[in-house]
Structures are given as structure tokens and as C-alpha cells.
């Protein structure tokens, strides 16, 4: 994959970006889940590399990360998993800065970015790395042709937004509401406003934090988003599978069905003539 492919994934209508935590509940299961999510219509896979202190996550993903860590997920195992993935779509690594910083023989982001690029990662989302501290990471990503995706929050000021857009490639991650990740029943009122602020930005805009249904995906795209990002709703399905001891294949089927619903919903959000 090259850097243009994350952006390219947004070119065929509204994109579905799907998150799961790598290794939840096992690396083997993750492979099947990712394939199912792609089968269901995901255009980008956001694959979480579990960190012990996920401060930007709500309970659902926090628990997923714990399951993955308990099952032995490590940065090296993560890269192995990425190598073995049979995904036709770009994979973005979502993790916290300390894991990137510690990887390899010298502290700093270069070694992990290089290893990730070699394994087939197309970009990064690093929630605890605001644009102000992102210099070395940004340089490393540029060097290896990877995208660095920044999260724009409802609280982000115009000055900060400008600094972020300067360094954004791939897509902009629009945080749809205050707080942490987690499935919600309704799209936040903040979302249209957040998208309006980004109207002139020459980069795809994907909205995340709280989206869990096709109807919500439709609403978000109708508000002007180029894509939706969904995580906790999938992780709820995985958690349920773990709790009820369901076979991986059955969980994968449910994931595929939800992805298909979300993708169809997102398409419905487009104005009539643009629907494909």
C-alpha cells in the first residue's frame, strides 16, 4: 500500500473506516474479523495496537484492549498480524505514542514507523500525540510514505485546526462529540458544525466517536462527511462473542452484517444523484 491509498479509499463514495483491537480475543480471530469487515464493505481498517493506558477510549474499547493484552498482543505480534492479513484495503495503525516511541533500539518513532511500513501499514492515528508534539512522527511518516491522521475535536480552535491541516494526509478524523470512544444512540448535534468548519479543507473527512448504526451513518454523511469511523459497535459484538463463547465464524458473520448495514446507511446519506 502507498500513502495515496488511504485517501483513494474515500474516492468511491462515502468510506467506511472500521476499528478493531488487534488480538481481541486472539490474533487468529482478528484476522477473520478484519476479513469479514472488509467483506461487509469497509474501505479502511483501523487496527488498534493495544496500550495499557488507553485514556482516549471508553469502557468498551478499554476492555477490548485488556483482552488483547491478556492474550499476549505485543508490537511485534501486531506487525506479524498485519503481514498475514489478507486485506484489500489500507490498514491504519491506531495506538498511543509510548509504544511507537519505545520500539526498537533507540527511543523515537522512526523504527516503528519503518517496521510498520514494511509490514504493510498505510498510516497512523495516535490519539495522545497532538499536532504540537508530532514533529518527529510526522517526519518519520513522510519518509516512509505513511499517512498521519489527526483527530479534530469539537473543542479544536481555528488556529489549531490550521496547524493540523498543514500536517494531515490521508483523511481527517472528526471527533463527533466530547469525551471518549463508545457507541451512542444518537449522532451528536456537534457533528454538522464540526464538518462545516472543515468544509474548505482539501482532505476527506471521516466522523467517529459514537456511531453504531446504518441510520447514524446516513445522518453523518448527509451532514457532509466523506466517511464514518466505527469501533465500539463492532467491539460490542466481539465482547458479546467472548462472553457467550461463540465461534469466531459466527462473530465474524455479525461483524460483516453490521459493516454492510453501516456502509449501506452511509450511501443513503449521499444526495440522490451521487449514489452509486
Amino acid at each position: 500500500m502507498t500513502r495515496s491509498e488511504v485517501r483513494a479509499a474515500f474516492e468511491d463514495g462515502p468510506a467506511l473506516v472500521s476499528y478493531v483491537a488487534a488480538g481481541d480475543p486472539s490474533a487468529e480471530a482478528t484476522k477473520e474479523y478484519v476479513e469479514a469487515l472488509v467483506e461487509g464493505g469497509s474501505d479502511v481498517i483501523e487496527l488498534g495496537l493495544p496500550f495499557s493506558e488507553p485514556v482516549a477510549e471508553g469502557t468498551t474499547i478499554q476492555n477490548a484492549i485488556k483482552r488483547a493484552l491478556d492474550a499476549g498482543m505485543t508490537p511485534d505480534a501486531y506487525l506479524d498480524l498485519v503481514r498475514e492479513l489478507d486485506a484489500e484495503v489500507p490498514v491504519v495503525c491506531m495506538t498511543y505514542y509510548n509504544l511507537i516511541y519505545q520500539y526498537g533500539s533507540e527511543p523515537g518513532p522512526e523504527e516503528f514507523v519503518e517496521a510498520a511500513a514494511e509490514a504493510g501499514i498505510s498510516g497512523f492515528v495516535v490519539p495522545d500525540l497532538p499536532v504540537d508534539e508530532s514533529g518527529p512522527m510526522y517526519e518519520a511518516c513522510r519518509e516512509h510514505g505513511l499517512d498521519l491522521v489527526f483527530i479534530v475535536a469539537p473543542t479544536t480552535t481555528p488556529e489549531r485546526l490550521e496547524r493540523m491541516l498543514d500536517r494531515t494526509t490521508g483523511f481527517v478524523y472528526v471527533q463527533g462529540r466530547l469525551g471518549t470512544t463508545g457507541a451512542r444512540d444518537e449522532v451528536s448535534d456537534d457533528t454538522p458544525e464540526a464538518l462545516e468548519r472543515l468544509r474548505d479543507a482539501d482532505v476527506p473527512k471521516a466522523v467517529g466517536f459514537g456511531i453504531s448504526s446504518g441510520e447514524q451513518a446516513r445522518e453523518v454523511v448527509a451532514s457532509g462527511a466523506d466517511g464514518v469511523i466505527v469501533g465500539s459497535a463492532y467491539v460490542d459484538i466481539i465482547a458479546d462473542g467472548v462472553e457467550n463463547d461463540q465461534p469466531t465464524g459466527a462473530v465474524a458473520d455479525d461483524l460483516e452484517a453490521l459493516a454492510a448495514e453501516l456502509k449501506a446507511g452511509a450511501r443513503k446519506g449521499l444526495p440522490e444523484p451521487e449514489r452509486k
Binding site: 485514556v55 509504544l99 519505545q102 490519539p127 495522545d128 497532538p130 504540537d132 508534539e133 473543542t155 493540523m164
Partner: protein, 434 residues
């Protein structure tokens, strides 16, 4: 105001929030505007005394807090060690610990900023208590997060917080100690950031917290310098302070390390004093080292044994695995039980200005009983670590130990742990039990 606020050692860049290789602002974007707003408020109100903020703080910490705290000569310990031992009595500050200096400063600052709600995390409960107290005094709603393990081992402090009308939320994930409480408080802050201020309890977190908390705590070393001149006719040979996150440590050291000072500090109380040894005493727990496989360190000695990384908003020294996963720490003292440490302290250690040492759980418990028995002062288990290091201290004195807090909150732990470990000189309750 003396014009040397910007004079710093190489490690300390107050306005930029970087201390050598450490510090910074590593937080989710949703919090960045709040962090920037706070940095701006810190510069205006704390560094520049806008609207007389620092004067207000100084007068309240005297009137409400009871400052200055005394510098007491410990006669019996002095005799035991053959050099003069003085105790800086933060245990006599209102609430029984140095924590009020910072809590009062931050809650007052939140008022000046127009914030409407306070959240805070607490480990041993002293910071939670101080914050709840400051909120009651300044009429601010307050919510405190505390790990379940700490709730269980610090019950009196939980009740004290509730007496002051604070809501206490136990955190059940992980080991249920300070690290988990911080994560949860950050989540609350991210959800309610527009009207809420997060009162971080130590010199940790994103800029401006490490510099700001240090400044509020620097009243300790300001007084310590003045009192040393008056009482000893000189500066001490060494200052010993326990280090968990490092707030009492930085408070006791800052004026000797030449760190930035609060406006209105007495003339000459923040000159660098390189001939004063600054010793940070960490919790050696039951042994040093990290069990990477178990994700566990049986200590909290991040200055002595930690490695550089990024946690809770700052780059600093951490207890972590080679891969960068943060490990659970351990100390018999809940207040020291944390896998990170303040970035400025980490930088001062790298520079050689601060010496990190550590004592183990048993030594701390012995020191707890020694100070209680020989000087009539019950120290917090945190402070007991600093007192314990006197046994190993190799010098001529005079030495000042920062007694960061009183130990009433630790009595349950001390009764239980002393009996289980057969601690030298510990009384038991067995004779009273049927």
C-alpha cells in the same frame, strides 16, 4: 517581585513546559484547548500575578492553610545519627499534608478562570481530601476518582472527602491505584472539558501542570530557606524528600535548584544553591526491577530504575516493559504507588542536581515507628521513606527532612503490615484482641 522568575537551571523552561528531554503536552486533541487555556492562565495569573492572584493565594494559604509550617529540630534523631536533623512540618498544614498548597492554588485558579466544576484523582486520598477541602472553602462542586484498592486502604480519607461534600468514584479497572484513577479522571475531563478543571495532584501531566504544581508547592522551600537561615544560620547540607509523583519533592527542592518562583517570594529564596544536596527518596517496595512478563514492578522507583517514555501527558521516566506497556507499581504507601514521576524531577536527576535513592517497605515502616516513638510525630507512610533514609545518610548535617504529611490516614495499613512483617519496634494490637 524579584526579577529572576525566568532564571532557571538548564532543566527548567517554565513557559515552554519542557525540562531537558522531558515534559511536553501529550494529550488527546479534545483536551488540548483546555491545556492551552490553562497554560495561558498559568502565565497570566501565577507567573505574572494578574489581578493579584498570587497575593490572594498567599493570603489564603496562610489564613486557611496555616502557613508557614515550622521547621522543627528533631533532638532524639539528631542524637541517634550524630548530626542535626530538622523536620519541615508539612504534616501541620491544614488537612495534614503538603497537598493543600497545590489544591488551594488550582481551585482558586479555576475560579479566576471561570470554571464551574472540579475533578481530581487521588492515590492515598490526601490530594483528594485537600481538593475537597479547597472546593468546600471556595464553593466549587467536586468529583474525585480513586482506585478501588486505594479506597479500601485509605477509608478515613474517603470519608473525609465525603464530609466536604465531594463525590468519590471508585475505579475498578487494573490494580485500582493512582494510575487507573488518573486515566479515569482524564476521561471525565475529556467529556466535560468546557466547564471543568482537572486538579492534578502532583508535578506530572501535560504542561503547565508540572511547572504550576511546583510553583504552588515552592512555598515549602521558600520557607525552608528562610527558616534555615534564621534557625541554623546557614543552608542545610541536604534536603531529603520522598518522591512518588514528586510534588512535595519539587516543593522542597525548587528554591534550592533555582526553579521559577511565585511572585512575592522573599528576596533571595530562589537562588540556586549547589552546595545543598537534594535527595529524592523513592519507594523501593519489596524489591527493585520490573517483572515484564507479569507487567508488574514490586516498587515505585521510577527515578532510580525507570526508562524514558510518554505517560499521562508528559515525557518522563516510567516503569514500563521494553515494549512500552506501563506496569503496575507497588509501595506499602498508596501515595507513592505510581509508575511515573514528574518530568522536571527526571531532568534534575539526569543533570545530577537531584540524587535518587530508595528505601524498601520494611525500612519505611520501621521509620514510621521510629519517628512516632522518638519524636512524637506520626508521619505519613510516604514521608516515612524520607525519614528512613536518615539511617543510610552519610554526611555531617544539618539535614532537613520534608515530613510531607501526617500518618493518621495510614494507621490501618501500618497495624496490618507491621504485624505481617514483624517490623522492628512496632507495637501490636494483638494483646487487645480476643
Amino acid at each position: 517581585m524579584s526579577g529572576n522568575r525566568e532564571r532557571t537551571t538548564g532543566a527548567q523552561e517554565t513557559r515552554a513546559g519542557k525540562f531537558g528531554a522531558y515534559g511536553g503536552q501529550y494529550v488527546p486533541e479534545v483536551l488540548m484547548p483546555a491545556v492551552e487555556e490553562l497554560a495561558d492562565a498559568y502565565e497570566r495569573y501565577v507567573l505574572d500575578n494578574e489581578d493579584g492572584f498570587v497575593d490572594d493565594f498567599r493570603s489564603r494559604i496562610e489564613e486557611f492553610g496555616g502557613r508557614p509550617t515550622p521547621l522543627s529540630h528533631a533532638e532524639n534523631l539528631s542524637e541517634r545519627y550524630g548530626f542535626d536533623v530538622y523536620l519541615k512540618r508539612e504534616d501541620l498544614l491544614h488537612g495534614g499534608a503538603h497537598k493543600l498548597n497545590n489544591a488551594l492554588g488550582q481551585v482558586l485558579l479555576a475560579k479566576y478562570m471561570g470554571k464551574e466544576r472540579i475533578v481530581a484523582e487521588t492515590g492515598a486520598g490526601q490530594h483528594g481530601t485537600a481538593t475537597a477541602m479547597a472546593c468546600a472553602y471556595l464553593d466549587m462542586p467536586c468529583e474525585i476518582y480513586m482506585g478501588r484498592t486505594d479506597v479500601n486502604r485509605q477509608r478515613p480519607n474517603v470519608f473525609r472527602m465525603r464530609i466536604h461534600d465531594a463525590e468519590v468514584n471508585p475505579v475498578d479497572v487494573g490494580a485500582g491505584t493512582l494510575k487507573e484513577a488518573i486515566n479515569e479522571t482524564m476521561r471525565d475531563w475529556a467529556t466535560n472539558v468546557e466547564d471543568t478543571h482537572y486538579v492534578i495532584g502532583s508535578v506530572v501531566g501535560p504542561h503547565p501542570f508540572p511547572a504550576m504544581v511546583r510553583d504552588f508547592q515552592s512555598v515549602i522551600s521558600e520557607e525552608l530557606r528562610e527558616q534555615s537561615r534564621e534557625r541554623l544560620g546557614r543552608l542545610p547540607e541536604a534536603v531529603l524528600a520522598c518522591a512518588g509523583g514528586g510534588s512535595n519533592t519539587m516543593g522542597a527542592f525548587s528554591a534550592f535548584a533555582g526553579s521559577a518562583e511565585l511572585p512575592g517570594a522573599p528576596e533571595g529564596t530562589h537562588e540556586p544553591a549547589p552546595d545543598v544536596d537534594l535527595v529524592a527518596v523513592e519507594a523501593g517496595g519489596s524489591s527493585l526491577g520490573v517483572d515484564a512478563e507479569e507487567g508488574y514492578a514490586p516498587n515505585s522507583a521510577s527515578l532510580s530504575t525507570g526508562t524514558e517514555g510518554v505517560l499521562h501527558g508528559a515525557r518522563t521516566k516510567l516503569l514500563q516493559t521494553e515494549e512500552g506497556q506501563i506496569v503496575e507499581s507497588h509501595s506499602v504507601s498508596a501515595g507513592l504507588d505510581y509508575a511515573g514521576v514528574g518530568p522536571e524531577l527526571a531532568a534534575l536527576v539526569d543533570e545530577g542536581r537531584v540524587t535518587p535513592v530508595n528505601v524498601d517497605d520494611d525500612a519505611a515502616l520501621e521509620a514510621f515507628h521510629r519517628l512516632s516513638r522518638e519524636e512524637g510525630i506520626i508521619p505519613a507512610l510516604e514521608s516515612s521513606h524520607a525519614v528512613a533514609y536518615l539511617e543510610e545518610y552519610d554526611g555531617d548535617g544539618p539535614v532537613v527532612v520534608n515530613v510531607s504529611g501526617r500518618g493518621d490516614k495510614d494507621l490501618d495499613t501500618v497495624i496490618e503490615e507491621s504485624a505481617a512483617r514483624d517490623i522492628d519496634g512496632a507495637p501490636t494490637m494483638e494483646v487487645f484482641e480476643e
